[in-house]
């Protein structure tokens, strides 16, 4: 009897990295809260039309409807053009989430490729790539963004690409560090001995094993991307109006701050909640999946 039980426990596969991390993540209440917030946000973005009957873009009946304070008909009030603020905030989530996700994807892909290449190739290639990374990191992200927006005229896709192109550096460093630590492991050397070329090793061995680091980095970056996009919108250089970009809404509310405080307040809260959600999620993911913390 006991022999069978022992056999079974020995034969059972040990919990893998993913299920271990998962269990740790579930135990983190802040992380679960963050996950819930993010999920709720995506849900809101998807079912936006169901949540509000108002059109976020169309100008309302201006004389009657402008600057209406929060009331039962318009829970978050209306703006200068008679548009319902709640509707704009809800539809605005689509813009922020989409931009955040796409830009984060670009960041991650670019950063991983550069970091993996630098870490794996080493030597001169590594030095050059890392110097470029350092140089780019020296220019504050907003300055880079503003410069590019000034040089190339704005559009949603441009903003997505720019946000991605200005944020990949930190990911590159992380991936490079991870690759450097993995590179000397035996199975990598074995693959090389068997004749696998550089690209093969990078694709098939190094990147999958840095995946957890990459995912955590991506989640933590989304918050920063959303803030950057909001800042661009606030400076009037983001997504062109009348699209309901949260940052732009805060900007539009600035001129009526004293009398119509709701115009700037609620979009700002929306930004804050979104970023908090992603940060909580990212932090919890990092605590759960950080290879260094898993004994």
């Amino acid at each position: 009897m006991s022999a069978n039980a022992d056999e079974r426990s020995i034969a059972a596969p040990p919990p893998g990295l993913w299920s271990q991390g998962w269990a740790r993540f579930r135990r983190n209440r802040f992380g679960m809260a963050g996950a819930l917030i993010v999920l709720a946000l995506y849900l809101v973005a998807i079912v936006a039309p169901l949540l509000t009957p108002y059109d976020p873009i169309a100008t309302g009946d201006v004389p009657r409807m402008r600057y209406v304070p929060p009331c039962r008909e318009h829970p978050l009030g209306t703006d200068k053009f008679g548009r319902d603020v709640f509707a704009r905030v809800v539809y605005g989530s689509r813009i922020s989430l989409m931009i955040g996700f796409l830009a984060a994807a670009i960041t991650v892909i670019l950063g991983s490729l550069v970091g993996a290449a630098a870490g794996y190739l080493g030597g001169a290639a590594d030095a050059i790539l890392m110097r470029i990374v350092d140089a780019l990191l020296s220019i504050p992200r907003l300055f880079l963004l503003l410069t590019c927006v000034a040089l190339f005229s704005g559009s949603v896709w441009l903003i997505v690409i720019l946000l991605g192109a200005t944020g990949w550096m930190a990911t590159a460093r992380l991936v490079r560090a991870q690759v450097l630590s993995l590179r000397n492991l035996d199975y990598v050397k074995a693959a090389e001995a068997l004749g696998a070329g550089g690209r093969g090793v990078i694709w098939r061995h190094l990147i999958p094993n840095t995946l957890s680091v990459i995912i955590v980095a991506a989640t933590l970056r989304i918050g920063g991307i959303i803030l950057a996009e909001a800042s661009l919108g606030f400076l009037g250089l983001g997504v062109p109006p009348p699209a309901p970009s949260w940052g732009q809404m805060v900007f539009e509310g600035r001129e009526a701050l004293m009398s119509a405080w709701w115009l700037s307040t609620f979009p700002g809260i929306a930004i804050a909640v979104t970023v908090i959600g992603f940060n909580l999620l990212g932090d919890a993911l990092r605590d759960a999946f950080d290879p260094r913390q898993i004994a």
Partner: protein
Amino acid sequence: MRGFLVRRLIQSLALLFIVLTITFFLLRLAPGDPMSRYDNPDFSPETVRGIRESLGLDKPLAEQYFRWIASFARGDFGVSLRYQRPVRDLLAEAIPNTLRLTVAALALHLVLGIFLGVLSAAQRHSPFDRVNTIAALFVYSIPSFWLALMLILVFSLKLGVLPSSHMQSLDTEGFSALALAIDRAKHLVLPAFVLGIASAASTARYMRGSMLDALREDYIRTARAKGLPESRVFLKHAFKNAALPVVTIVGLSLPFLFGGAVVVETIFSWPGMGRLAVDAIYARDYPTILAINFTVAAIVILGNLLTDVAYGLLDPRIAFAVGKKG
């Protein structure tokens, strides 16, 4: 030590060079001819040709590149398209104002961040610690422009105790030196707070972690075993060692400070580099934009160099090792 310094200096110069190259090619990549704003019947073809020559746009790309690098090295940043003044003058006026703001914000960031971080580590897991952690996350996640507007709403518009724009009041005629100083300080409060608070939050978190790591070390156990009072263990031993990595934090936070200054200066009409940059963007004033990019990058690189040197001097492990190598 000298070898270390020289190496870092060369690295910094290389970084500056790369920044210049990148900005040069960014400008060249941009669609549209930089001369297009002169595409105007008011300008005679000779004038346009003359301007083109003076801007060096008729020369081959490589020569333009080297002339550009050379002029930047000389400190000649060209003429602002918007203000028709040398960019260098504009920068000379704006930089001190931005420095005033960023230094104040940095001071707030360090004082608050370190203090709260150490306190949180001392009262680990207490309600204070928990509230601090949540507050820090919150502060770190809200957009700075929104925080600025909310603070303006409360303190300037509703309560009227703090000014909401500019570096000093408009009517300071006959103000004594003290009154002027107080007036300027009042104008500095909100912008510096908004600029520094987010960094303070992340530094507090980092400091807390660093303190907790330091407290786990063996020498702390020894100190306690020696019978030293806990406060001394905490402050004299743990803190000094935990504070060291925070020096590098200062260097790392410089880009965020300057980036944040863009938004803060715009909201508070603070006449610094950030606002100059935004105005230049609106006006497509390329010489100014590029010069500001370069200057900010230079300041950040210099700041990193200084913090690296400071860290090398402060950390006895590095100073000793480097000293041995000479």
